[in-house]
């Protein structure tokens, strides 16, 4: 079953959030608009709204995470949900329990929403196929497949600074091949009608089907940065170095690291983004990361509002009785 059939209900509303593929521009815009209305919640005396009151959210992280996990937790808490966070690699699965058994045991605890990160592509999809009706699954990163809430918080950050996607050139730089973030970003940027999406990477880190994704491919960083409005740097996944895809970190920085000098190729008002965690001095120079064009920490803050938006849209999914009582 494709993600679109699983993710949307009969009336086209969000039921699960598994990948950007299969969604449409209207849903993406609705997520961004809804996130807008949540940013103000953070400025109030009581940073909570009662939308998920009485609901239980389980954070299931089979893979390590700091930012994604903690912003999902905060998002659920600001929506008044009860939240259970499990580091699964340190618990049951180590003892041999299957994914399905873990799921069923948690379902027996009346969980309403699962937030899942797993090293296997398709695992969130698998969960969504097996949960009970009315239980939602949010993908917090599955293998090399998708990381849709990260992509949406990146879209939110871009829209916050640049407003109109149809005039933008966006360059995604780094290990595209292994990056679920890049895949989700490319789909989202294209759905939002971004004028030009570029990927910039050494040949060994470019997926074979790259052009089919609707991007321009650059193997030279300086050419790839020419006149762009947004630069998205990806983490160099050091664990990949062993696969002989890259000569060395030093060599990588020399060719693909973002320095002030190279950033000058982009438009003067270009913003620099990074999904984190960043390797200073490998893919990005410290002075760029802490510089005036960097919006990296803002991405983290916006992540809370965007995750609140997705969770609340899933709970308020059935738009059958619009209008309500006075």
């Amino acid at each position: 079953m494709p993600d679109s059939d699983l993710q949307l209900d009969e009336s086209g509303k969000l039921r699960h959030f598994l990948s950007i593929e299969g969604l449409n521009q209207a849903i993406l815009s609705e997520i961004l608009d809804t996130a807008d209305s949540f940013t103000s919640v953070t400025d109030r005396t009581i940073k909570k709204v009662p939308i998920l009151r009485g609901k239980t959210v389980a954070n299931l992280f089979f893979e390590a995470s700091t930012r994604t996990r903690s912003t999902f937790e905060l998002a659920a808490q600001r929506l008044s949900a009860d939240i259970l966070s499990l580091n699964v690699d340190t618990s049951a699965t180590v003892k041999g329990e299957s994914l399905l058994d873990t799921l069923q045991n948690l379902e027996a605890m009346q969980i309403d929403m699962f937030v899942i990160r797993h090293q296997d592509s398709g695992s969130a999809h698998f969960f969504a196929q097996h949960v009970r009706p009315g239980v939602a699954v949010l993908n917090a990163g599955d293998g090399q497949h998708a990381h849709p809430t990260q992509a949406m918080l990146d879209m939110y950050t871009i829209r916050h600074h640049k407003h109109d996607f149809t005039r933008l050139r966006v360059a995604i730089v780094g290990d595209i091949l292994h990056s679920r973030v890049a895949r989700s970003q490319i789909h989202a940027l294209n759905l939002l009608n971004t004028a030009e999406v570029r990927i910039v990477a050494p040949r060994t880190l470019i997926p074979v089907d790259a052009e089919a994704l609707g991007v321009r491919v650059f193997e030279d960083l300086e050419a790839g940065l020419e006149d762009v409005d947004v630069v998205i740097m990806l983490r160099l996944q050091r664990e990949r170095m062993r696969g002989a895809l890259l000569p060395s970190e030093k060599e990588y920085f020399r060719r693909f690291g973002l320095s002030q000098e190279r950033l000058a190729r982009a438009r003067p008002d270009a913003i620099v983004m990074h999904p984190g965690p960043a390797n200073r001095g490998v893919e990005i120079e410290s002075s760029v990361m802490d510089g005036s064009q960097s919006v990296i920490l803002q991405q983290v803050s916006f992540g809370i509002a965007v995750r609140m938006a997705v969770m609340s849209m899933i709970v308020g999914q059935s738009g059958l009785q619009a209008g309500g009582d006075a």
Partner: protein, 170 residues
């Protein structure tokens, strides 16, 4: 049915609310409920006390029927002046019916602070309350069939329209 002229009702509400603004120490703040209530609040505010602060509430996050009707991201987010603690909040809405909107609005207000007093000003009170909430200031009483829906249209040239809810519309 002849519906009352909205501007005239707003004039009358403005007049009735004037005494609330004679003592600045009571710190009066007008707060309109999105969307209809906010339009009325803007007009009362402009006529009575343009120098005081004006707030608006989007109560979608607080509705008790949220899971049925969902969010309306097109509605402007809430915006309240800082420091509603010890203020007199004059809550303004277009139609008072079940009372659930006002309950949601009060729940939201208390997440911003602790007002000293909340007063409720309503353009049209159509009765048929489902919870014990009453308005302090009412533009007009209007009795309607349970199946009818009265709505304020705006934001320019405010006017009231009655719609009969089609039970097949879902």
């Amino acid at each position: 049915m002849t519906l009352p002229a909205v501007e005239k009702l707003i004039d009358e509400l403005t007049e009735a609310l004037a005494p609330c603004f004679t003592d600045p120490a009571s710190h009066p703040i007008i707060v309109g409920i999105e969307t209809g209530g906010a339009w009325i609040a803007e007009r009362i505010h402009a006529r009575i006390a343009p120098n005081t602060e004006l707030g608006r509430l989007n109560i979608s996050f607080y509705r008790d029927d949220f899971t049925r009707i969902g969010l309306h991201p097109t509605v402007k987010p809430s915006s309240l002046p800082p420091g509603i603690d010890d203020a007199t909040v004059i809550l303004v809405d277009d139609v008072l019916h079940s009372g659930r909107t006002v309950r949601a609005a009060m729940n939201e207000l208390f997440d911003y602070g602790r007002p000293r007093r909340i007063l409720l000003a309503i353009l049209i009170d159509r009765g048929q309350r489902e919870i014990p909430i009453q308005a302090d200031f009412v533009g007009a009483m209007l009795e309607l069939d349970a199946g009818s829906h009265i709505k304020l249209e705006g934001p320019d040239n405010l006017s009231l329209v009655i719609k009969t809810v089609d039970s097949n519309a879902g």
